[in-house]
């Protein structure tokens, strides 16, 4: 039997037995840990995986708690709302809907902004919501709302700590399972690309703004569910536990436990909760004064964790448990992903006409024209500073020409974002390698197939996506084998040599099933044998009808491979033609070797 299953089984059995073994004090403590871990889990997804920091999660907890508190205790709800107050389960749904709406609103305001505006924004609206809870008379002001009913489940009333314990931990475990599943899927790879790989992900067709919104809403919903449980456990709510300082504590839990790991949420919530109890008993008598002095220790502890173990405690604990992550299995029988019909050889794929790009007074590209046809490899060469990269940016739609036009498959490129261009069938590699270093080679390449698959967040979370996932992984494995990285398939991409990382990018681009491949210096950093293999691959693709544009410095590589060459200098085209012709061209010789006086 697999060790990870044994360890997990033992953990679950222990959880099941807790109320029978431990005193009510510890059961209550575990209830709190479960509630906090659920919020921290949202932050794992949001902050640890997605790179978005929020100090305002406590406000979402409050939204969940106050929604159910207000609806289940109000003596006279308006008629259209009265039926919701009848059962806590209905108010849970109401709270989740309200939270989703609020999260969508706040998210649409702040998620577009660069990293640090979001956390600052979250502090501000966290404070606003907190003051709102405290000042609205309908919500009981600072005294709060009491008399909240207990949750009923199949005729069973969960009005004791040892009973609601099971509900809390069931919620948490389901949430963890869902999050775990989600991260290991097509949508999950897109989410994991948010931190440090947005430009790449967009070029592979991932709508990163949508992915950011998805995790923001999920984190808010987890917080809301925790608040709902809290309200029905305490049977009383007031604004105190939903202030911004508690929001900060939630973030600490995630960071201390290990913000990048699903299990880090439980570890962090456990450590902080137990420590808080202990410090609250112990510090006031030590310092001879009453107050929340545990914040001093928490603050300094937090700084220490960030200085010494930025990944949190979970990776350290994980080493003690004999569980190793298993490689993904590739199902050889999975159906192949659908392919696009490649244009016939010789058909015009890409056409740049009179492209001029000025940066102020500097003319980086001046009246550049080129075309690439299906089944052809075109090289764009030129000395350093000739404007090749600028031209590459105009073609790939990253930048827009000052005048002139780039047309891809007859349609203008300008005005489309990277995603649309990727969908049209243009796929690219980057001059400075952009991959996700801690993800496996297989998963990195699988991102390329994003647009060839459709399964969304819900189906991923509930594992309804496995058939398509198998097809994606099979395709990714096929491309990896094709480029010759098969033996590195399960390694972390960051461990590969630079040349291999460039090859990985080609596999990723191929995984998108493009009809035009844009390669930015693919041979840089490759050894002779690797270059030969790359050349072989590109020739094979050409025979299949692929159009390839390649920017490259390695002349031997270029001249033996490509069909035609365009030479640039000072932003202009100085020559175009067959490799042999270009090599004899006096203008080219002068550009590369200097003029003969």
């Amino acid at each position: 039997m697999r060790t990870d299953r044994i360890v997990l089984g033992a953990f679950l059995a222990l959880l099941l037995l807790v109320p029978a073994i431990l005193s009510p004090y510890y059961v209550t403590l575990l209830n709190y840990i479960g509630l906090y871990a659920m919020v921290a889990l949202g932050l794992v997804l949001l902050t640890g995986v997605g790179g978005l920091t929020s100090f305002g999660q406590a406000a979402f907890v409050g939204l969940g708690a106050y929604t159910t508190a207000a609806l289940t205790t109000a003596p006279d709800l308006p008629g259209w709302l009265a039926w919701v107050g009848a059962s806590p389960w209905l108010t849970l749904v109401a709270g989740l809907i309200l939270t989703a709406i609020v999260a969508l609103l706040i998210g649409s305001l702040t998620l577009k902004l660069s990293g640090h505006f979001l956390p600052l924004g979250t502090i501000a609206w966290g404070i606003s919501l907190y003051f709102l809870f405290g000042t609205m008379q309908d919500l009981g002001g600072h005294t709060g709302i009491s008399g909240i009913p207990a949750i009923g489940l199949l005729g069973w009333t969960l009005d004791e700590g040892g009973e609601i314990y099971y509900l809390i931990w069931a919620f948490l475990l389901v949430a963890m399972l869902t999050t775990h599943n989600l991260l290991d899927s097509r949508e999950g790879r897109a989410i994991r690309a948010l931190k440090g790989g947005r430009v790449m992900a967009e070029a592979m067709g991932v709508d990163t703004s949508r992915s950011r919104m998805v995790i923001f809403v999920i984190a808010a919903l987890l917080a809301c569910a925790s608040g709902w449980l809290y309200a029905h456990m305490q049977r009383f709510v007031n604004p105190t536990p939903f202030g911004v300082h508690i929001g900060i504590e939630y973030l600490f839990m995630a960071v201390v436990g290990g913000a990048g790991y699903v299990w880090g949420a439980i570890v962090g919530a456990g450590v902080i909760t137990v420590l808080k109890q202990w410090l609250q008993d112990w510090l006031p008598s030590l310092l001879g004064a009453t107050g929340n002095f545990e914040t001093i220790v928490f603050g300094l502890l937090m700084v220490l964790v960030l200085h010494r173990a930025r990944e949190g405690l979970w990776p350290i604990l994980k080493k003690l448990v004999p569980v190793r992550a298993r490689n993904k299995t590739i199902d050889p029988d999975a159906e192949a992903l659908p392919r696009r019909t490649l244009p016939k050889a010789g058909e015009l794929i890409l056409e740049a006409r009179d492209v001029t790009r000025k940066f102020g007074g500097l003319v980086a590209n001046n009246n550049m024209s080129l075309e690439v046809r299906a089944g052809e490899i075109l090289a764009l060469i030129g000395p350093n500073g000739a404007g090749k990269s600028t031209m590459f940016n105009q073609i790939s739609g990253v930048d827009t020409p000052t005048s002139g036009e780039v047309r891809f498959l007859g349609k203008p490129v300008a005005g489309h974002d990277s995603r649309e261009i990727a969908r049209m069938g243009m796929s690219r590699t980057f001059q400075h390698v952009k991959l996700l270093p801690t993800m496996s080679v297989l998963e990195n390449v699988a991102i390329g197939a994003h647009l060839r698959s459709t399964q969304g967040v819900l189906s991923s979370a509930w594992r309804l996506d496995r058939a398509e996932e198998a097809r994606i992984l099979k395709e990714a494995a096929r491309q990896i084998e094709r480029v010759g990285l098969a033996e590195h398939m399960y390694e972390e991409a960051g461990n590969l040599a630079l040349g291999q990382q460039r090859i990985l990018e080609i596999a990723r681009a191929l995984c998108a099933d493009p009809c035009l491949l844009l390669l930015d210096e693919p041979a840089a950093g490759l050894r002779f044998k690797e270059k030969e293999a790359l050349g072989e691959l590109l020739r094979k693709l050409r025979a299949e009808g692929m159009a390839t544009l390649i920017v490259e410095h390695d002349m031997d590589f270029v001249m033996s491979l490509v069909d035609r060459v365009v030479v640039m200098e000072f932003g202009q085209k100085i020559a175009e033609g067959l490799p042999d012709e270009v090599q004899q061209n006096p203008a080219v010789l002068e550009a590369y070797l200097g003029g003969v006086e």
Binding site: K195, G196, V199, E202, H245
Partner: protein, 345 residues
């Protein structure tokens, strides 16, 4: 509302706005030079005000012990490193500034009857205690992770903020304090009664802004900080030490924070945790300036001050909600004007 109420509210708004402007300038400065979002700015305000109040009550300000502890830690780190490198004189310098100075200060405060000293001396001593904590904090908390992503630095700031609030409660207790005004003088302009403290706040703010402007425009250190803010790597290659830039920035920020605290202590009652809200209002102003533009941040600060004053008249229960919700239209405007996908660090 009649004209005279509007005038009084405007006076309040502008006075508070001037303080928010100072804080916003410091926040923009710290972020630009070190990429640290200086959440603890508000605690420096509270520490400044409450240290002065404690000194006036005749007690030994507890913050001086914090200075001693922080100084001892810096000495342990830097002094030992200097000794190991065989730089004896450097080690003596480190120990002098970080160990001898705080101890001497503590001894002087304990021995002299500072509660009877003139106000100017008390203010000076307050600054002498609180301001050096800025560079020490940079050394201990930020310097070891100076190249970490912005978000990690932000979490460190938030952690230090809550630690400082806890320490504030320990040092100063839960009671609020209000210090006597710098002078009792006041005069009337039409229906408006202007107190001298208001003038003090406006005058000092204006002087400080001019002084900072001169510092950044005319001095070598000021230019070094500007260079670091524009291009950290480039500045480093030109021989500007990022460590020095960081410590200098934190010195300035702590100075601005503590001075702001001393200035507003006669106007509002300051509690150990008041600083956070004051600092955050500086933040709202700084965000209006996009954490980059000083003049926009200063204008934003005046807007925040005025909005707060008028909100407290019309809907005093919702004062804070209104001020912090102001950030939403600002963020909306910023999000509508930024289109590109940007790579997080």
């Amino acid at each position: 509302m009649d004209m005279s109420i509007a005038l009084i509210l405007s006076q309040d708004g502008i006075t508070n706005g001037a303080i928010y402007a100072l804080l916003a300038l410091a926040l923009v400065l710290v972020f630009a030079v070190t990429r640290v979002i200086f959440i603890q700015q508000g605690e420096f305000v509270a520490y400044g005000a409450l240290t002065l109040a404690m000194m006036q009550s005749g007690a030994l300000p507890a913050t001086v012990w914090m200075l001693v502890v922080m100084g001892a830690l810096v000495t342990a780190l830097d002094g030992v490193r200097a000794l190991k490198a065989g730089q004896g004189r450097r080690a003596v310098g480190v120990a002098g500034w970080n160990l001898a100075y705080p101890l001497a200060l503590a001894a002087a405060l304990g021995a002299l009857p500072v509660n009877e000293a003139p106000l100017a001396l008390q203010v000076l001593l307050t600054l002498a205690i609180v301001v050096p904590m800025g560079p020490m904090m940079y050394r201990l908390m930020y310097q070891p992770i100076a190249s970490a992503p912005v978000l990690v630095l932000l979490i460190v700031s938030v952690a230090l903020h809550i630690a400082m609030v806890g320490l504030g409660l320990l040092f100063f207790g839960a009671e609020g304090q209000r210090t006597p005004a710098f002078s009792e003088f006041s005069f009337e302009i039409g229906p408006l009664m202007v107190s001298a403290q208001t003038l003090w706040v406006l005058l000092v703010s204006a002087l400080l802004i001019v002084a900072l402007y001169q510092f950044f425009g005319r001095t070598l250190y000021g230019k070094a900080l500007r260079a670091t803010a524009i291009n950290r790597m480039g500045a480093q290659l030109m021989g500007i030490s990022p460590t020095l830039a960081g410590r200098l920035t934190f010195f300035l920020a702590a100075f601005i924070g503590a001075l702001s605290g001393v200035l507003i202590a006669p106007i509002t009652t300051i509690y150990y945790d008041t600083g956070f809200l004051i600092g955050l209002k500086g933040f709202v102003a700084a965000i209006i300036g996009g954490l980059a533009s000083y003049p926009l941040a200063a204008l934003g600060a005046l807007a925040v001050g005025l909005l707060e004053a008028f909100a407290s008249f019309w809907a005093s229960a919702y004062k804070e909600v209104i001020v912090f919700t102001l950030i939403i239209p600002v963020l909306l405007w910023r999000s509508l004007t930024s289109h590109h996908v940007e790579e997080e660090e």
